[in-house]
Symmetry: C2
Subunit: 337 residues, 2 copies
């Protein structure tokens, strides 16, 4: 089914669904508020994998003990350029929200500052966080490890996470920021799961089977390993993300974690690292950046995230968002249960 044919719901109805389902799953009110806002924004921007679908996954994780729905983050001023947020096993978003002021205050003073979130359950798309930094005039860079699904380049078994990397650069005159956010695996695991369900073959170069041989069979890939994007270079960047959002901040690497309910010996929570640069302190040339974007578009290329940002503006304008019919039915059932 093409997105254009999806039914729509109002933001108010979507918010009510989210509030009802998350509250029933035991999430404390501050978590419900920030998680709802995050999922609604993603749904409005037609980022379906990180939109209201996550209500189901987050509720399940709360039941399975993968996330503590009542945990309150502990924020600390660790150094002139470093905010630490211990999410205490709760969702990463509340830790981010409660740290944002301290992070931007530090960046204004030092030029750049880091937010190290530890012991967090992480389900959300990173663009949501870096674009909040951009909305306040900061350049944002964020990364987090995920559970081990990806073989390092030259290796044959899953070890690295799909380890997303996101970046956002503020633009003048109310333009949405220049942003990107992608998995450092050849494809997101959700894409492979979707193709396994439909029986569609994977493109070459995405995955290995359980014996370590290249495969285009999605089921075999799920039992084997994804590959990184961009060969050895993507693998090196993925490893850097493991290090910076793991051991650097005193946290585990992705291979030491597992989805909630799958392995009692491994945690479902891990770390996240977010950097904020204050362009004013760096003496940034915003018109130079705009000229670069014009040049990029002039070569025939598109800026990343434009489709998502355009969809978000259209949804906000219309006061409603598209949602897949089966998902909507399931969420309405869940909300009435």
């Amino acid at each position: 089914m093409h997105t254009a044919e999806y039914p729509s719901i109002t933001r108010d109805e979507a918010a009510l669904l989210a509030r009802t389902i998350l509250t029933a799953a035991g999430f404390a009110a501050p978590h419900v508020a920030v998680m709802s806002r995050n999922m609604l924004d993603a749904q409005e921007q037609e980022c379906h994998s990180h939109g209201l679908y996550r209500l189901i996954l987050c509720s399940r994780a709360a039941r399975q003990g993968g996330v503590d729905p009542q945990a309150m983050p502990v924020i600390s001023d660790a150094a002139a350029g470093l905010v630490r947020a211990d999410a205490q096993g709760g969702c990463s978003l509340l830790a981010f929200e409660q740290s944002l002021d301290m992070l931007t205050r530090k960046a204004r003073q030092t030029g750049l500052a880091a937010l190290a979130i530890s012991n967090c359950y992480h389900y959300s798309a990173l663009w949501w966080e870096v674009e909040q930094l951009a909305a306040q005039g900061f350049v944002g860079l964020a990364m987090t490890p995920t559970h081990p699904y990806v073989a390092p380049f030259g290796g044959t078994v899953p070890l690295l996470g799909t380890n997303p990397l996101a970046f956002s650069w503020p633009r003048p005159d109310g333009s949405p920021p220049y942003s990107f956010d992608f998995a450092t695996s050849a494809a997101a695991r959700g894409e492979v799961e979707l193709k396994a369900r439909t029986g569609e073959a994977l493109p070459e170069g995405w995955s290995l089977d359980a014996e370590g041989n290249p495969t285009t069979d999605a089921e075999a890939a799920l039992n084997g390993a994804l590959l990184t994007f961009g060969g050895h270079k993507g693998s090196a960047i993925s490893t850097m993300i493991e290090l910076l959002a793991g051991p650097l901040i005193g946290e585990v690497a992705g291979y030491q974690t597992a989805p909630a309910g799958t392995d009692p010996a491994r945690r479902a929570t891990h770390g996240e690292l977010i950097l904020a640069f204050d362009p004013k302190v760096f003496g940034a040339d915003f018109s130079g950046a705009e000229a670069l974007f014009d040049q990029i578009i002039g070569t025939g290329a598109r800026l990343p995230s434009q489709r998502r940002q355009t969809a978000g503006a259209a949804s906000a304008n219309a006061g409603k968002m598209k949602i897949e019919a089966g998902l909507l039915a399931e969420l309405r059932r869940l909300a009435e249960a």
Copy 2:
């Protein structure tokens, strides 16, 4: 000719060649010292593209006005987490060397700090800089734009630089750091130039011809555009490097530059951005990082840069380094001229 068959010269002879040639090209003594050390280290590590071969390119750039061989960098304390170094049209390495103490002092105080080098002639491999940070116990990340050779994903004409990215993580017990350093283009431009000389075909996916069509012809690629590594993801990272080491620090983007002597309307110099993280401030778990490296090796993968680092240790041990015979003859001629 395979590297194993290369003749060797002692570090003393290599140093004398470098000193003689750079001095004759007009470089001031502090530039000669740091550039020689950089090129000798690269040559020892069998990083031939950034070793003594650069004596020829740097001398030529000095003659053509692409680099001011007498320029002395101006270093300033711009903020609690930011060092600025204006290279004044000189080589980046002296600016880096003279800023390193201030950068690490700031990182110790703030947790992480940035060094923004502007108006620099940049010829050197970035691993040399981030590995100096790692040798002092810091995590280093460095990036710089180059001249426009690369089409953004979806575009058909060269605009982005080959924009290298380098990272280094310190390891205990005298082990060389975990490092990577690579162009964000599908291949380094030097590789394509080499294949153009030998007539060898390029792999698919490296390049476009002047009409914007995919080509495996190296000559056509040099007249067209390289592609980024990893499709739209590599293109996004390359653009981020343009922004962070360009407009963020008040510098030009790569497309506004050109190699010395090719275009009077465009500068040969540009910016570089280096970040230093102090793992002590971040509460790093070094044994966790070592366990991750063990796991990576356990999957059958290799750590990046190991071949280079092993060659460097062997060269240092032997007190001599390998050099291609034709290059050695040319350098000896240059040194006697």
